[in-house]
Amino acid sequence: MEHYNMDLTLKVWKQNNSKTKGRFETYEVKGISSEMSFLEMFDVLNERLISEDKDPIAFDHDCREGICGMCSMYVNGRAHGPWEKNTVCQLHMRAFKSGETIVVEPWRSAAFPVIKDLVVDRDAFDRIIQAGGYISVNTGNAVDANTLPIEKYRADESFFAASCIGCGACVAACPNGSAMLFVSAKVSQLALLPQGEPERKTRVLNMVAQMDKEGFGNCSNVYACEAECPKGVSVANIARMNREYLSAGLSDEASI
């Protein structure tokens, strides 16, 4: 593919900390190579800002290969930008043309307060996992790994659900700020495995309760989450979680 250079206008959200109000700042960047990643374009801009004694833009990132879930930018109205099944760290500049204006914002959600510029607080996700996103097995207790065969399609389904990177794009993309895709991915992963069976009911009840407590919105089946999820986590997981929740709730009542 042909490489090219481009000049762009960036409108980026700047906010000093969670207590102050934010605003958009406009930056002109020149000579950006189509081979750069989106974050490398930010590196170039930040280097320039530092040399001009200006405040660089804070953003979260670490692996830069789409797996840690740290990067979190809302680009031109889309979580992680224009490419399908992609994190913003894997977005490359060949997605843009010279002369374009690009608007970059942090995740917007009541449950993810802004810490600085494009950096948000996603601790709510950890707390949802603490509520039940695990199998209670102490170290050293395990039986031989091949004791329980698991049908391949089940193991595969479980794996697809487990490939969630916890980035929060689903929440940012959802008009209601719902975390259903994230929570259902974990619930599904464990519900599909025989090892997850003993805690199947309490898990879904507790995780959903925690999700509600954190201030995430309700799911109204818009499915924007699936469209923006960089790992293609399927909304079928939401349906599965709803079933799990319902049957857990029912048997819970029955047992009283």
């Binding site: 280097e47 740290m70 193991a155």
Partner: protein, 657 residues
Amino acid sequence: MSLDSKIPEGDLEVKWRDYKSHVKLVNPSNKRKLEVIVVGTGLAGASAAAALGELGYKVKAFCFQDSPRRAHSISAQGGINAAKNYQNDGDSVFRLFYDTVKGGDYRSREANVYRLAEVSASIIDQCVAQGVPFAREYGGLLSNRSFGGTQVQRTFYAAGQTGQQLLLGAYSALERQVALGNVKMYSRHEMLDVVMIDGKARGIIARDLITGELERYFGHSVLLCTGGYANVFYLSTNAMGCNVTASWKAHKKGAYFGNPCFTQIHPTCIPVSGDHQSKLTLMSESLRNDGRIWVPKKQGDNRKPTDIPETERDYYLERRYPAFGNLVPRDVASRASKERCDEGYGVGTTKMAVYLDFTDAIKRYGMIELGKQGLETADDKTIEKLGKAVITEKYGNLFEMYEKITSENPYEIPMRIYPAAHYTMGGLWVDYELMTTIPGLYCLGEANFSDHGANRLGASALMQGLADGYFVIPYTLGNYLADEIRTATIPTTHPAFEDTENAVRIRIEKLMNIKGSESVESFHKRLGKIMWDKCGMARNEKGLQSAIEELRALRTEFWSNVRIPGEINEMNPELDKAGRVADFIELGELMCMDALDRKESCGGHFREEMQTEEGEAKRDDANYSYVSAWEYAEGGEKLHKEELAFDVVKPTQRSYK
């Protein structure tokens, strides 16, 4: 101080068993009173924190990312080894041990490696019990693949996302302990120093990366699980935040640094595309199971790879190493690529790349699938389609990643790859119990030097991290803490905490006050270039000497001309990075000193002066069969040597021919 590796007596096979049977124990009510600090929550740290929390210790865990689930371990792709012998192909604990010692080019400790192989099977059991969705066969049992440097299939995997799945398993175990109140988690916190009281590690100073505040934490012991330092090369396959700061601070407080020059350059990474490049992306070693590596037979051949006929291709690994072919260990494969490119056979725009080609594998799998459908023949298109589907199932995410970065479709055009800095075998020196030379200070995972000698085999780092955290430290830590039950919690108003915090504060202020003209990033790039050129894939005396001079000059320049924007008491990523780069520059010098001292070639350490006629690494067992352990001292680093004894595996010239 003389180095005591505390290797238990007895035959290799009984050392760990006997150790566990006789090690001191701490009773449950005392465990509740003992506090343990775990710095780092990657595979090593998360598994350690979870396992120690389960035992009842009071644990505080730290990481610099916003969540423990994001540690660099998450990006491991290919797999994790374990001596399960599920494939009935002749694997055993002994063979895994043997392969690892040989793969490490006879520069690791036999007893440690044997223990690693011994606990490997339990790791897989534990992970499956936690709900880690490893790849399975149609019969529902676990699937295996092969990895470099071995001839059996012992690698467990979850597509190309094994590290992610293992870390999420350990993370969930950790979060469970957080929920139970046994572990307190501090995310977005960076440890900046160890606090020493009466010669023992008793706590840390950490900086809250949101507020910039310095904080003090007490622990009866401190575990560093802070990962590797390959980012000293600036460009590496590591995540951007990986750093050496925790280990380096400990080193300056008295922890010896083991084999700092042993670094691994991984053969299959996406090549550098330009100056803007911020990191390099690995293409998992598992691809070498199916991909064939080649360059054109003609120098400077500019034809498209698909236009170069079979007879004009040089499959140089298969040619040079017929027994292992494309599956030779990493150090061997990397050097072979470098050799071809240096000789002018490289491909791509920069000519610093070789091809990794899947055409044959697609055909082969296509035929197998055809057979499964009971068909004898079909047109090429159908075979290709069937074959591609198999490749997608095995490596789909890697192929996608490659295409996103290069905008080339690796199903059609061979991948271009080149070696890149990837992993560090060196790290803090630890004894058999994983304790550093500072009493009460332990080091686990990639951050320690222990198990991989001069070269790590693929899929063995995940194994080591989890072995250390789940199955080793829960025993060895007790042996130390059993004698600490009378030590009451030391208040953090103790002068040692005060002094250490002050020293950290003064350094931060000093950095901020330089107000020079060059960015941290720019210094890091310059550091990386020196290290890559002179202490990278090939090293020689002259280069290393000049690197040391250059690094000293760079250090002076850094401390007089770095520019850090912003304030101390706010979120300031540039300041965080400045501290890390300052430490990297110092580490770089030590790496070069170590490489200079080791006048032999072994594993990833290739001294150009020391090679066989065929260009292979030439070890010198008579003079260099030791672990170098460097002590930080006023007036310069001091070298100590831990002589290695090989009672079971006889060191020979490594051959993969």
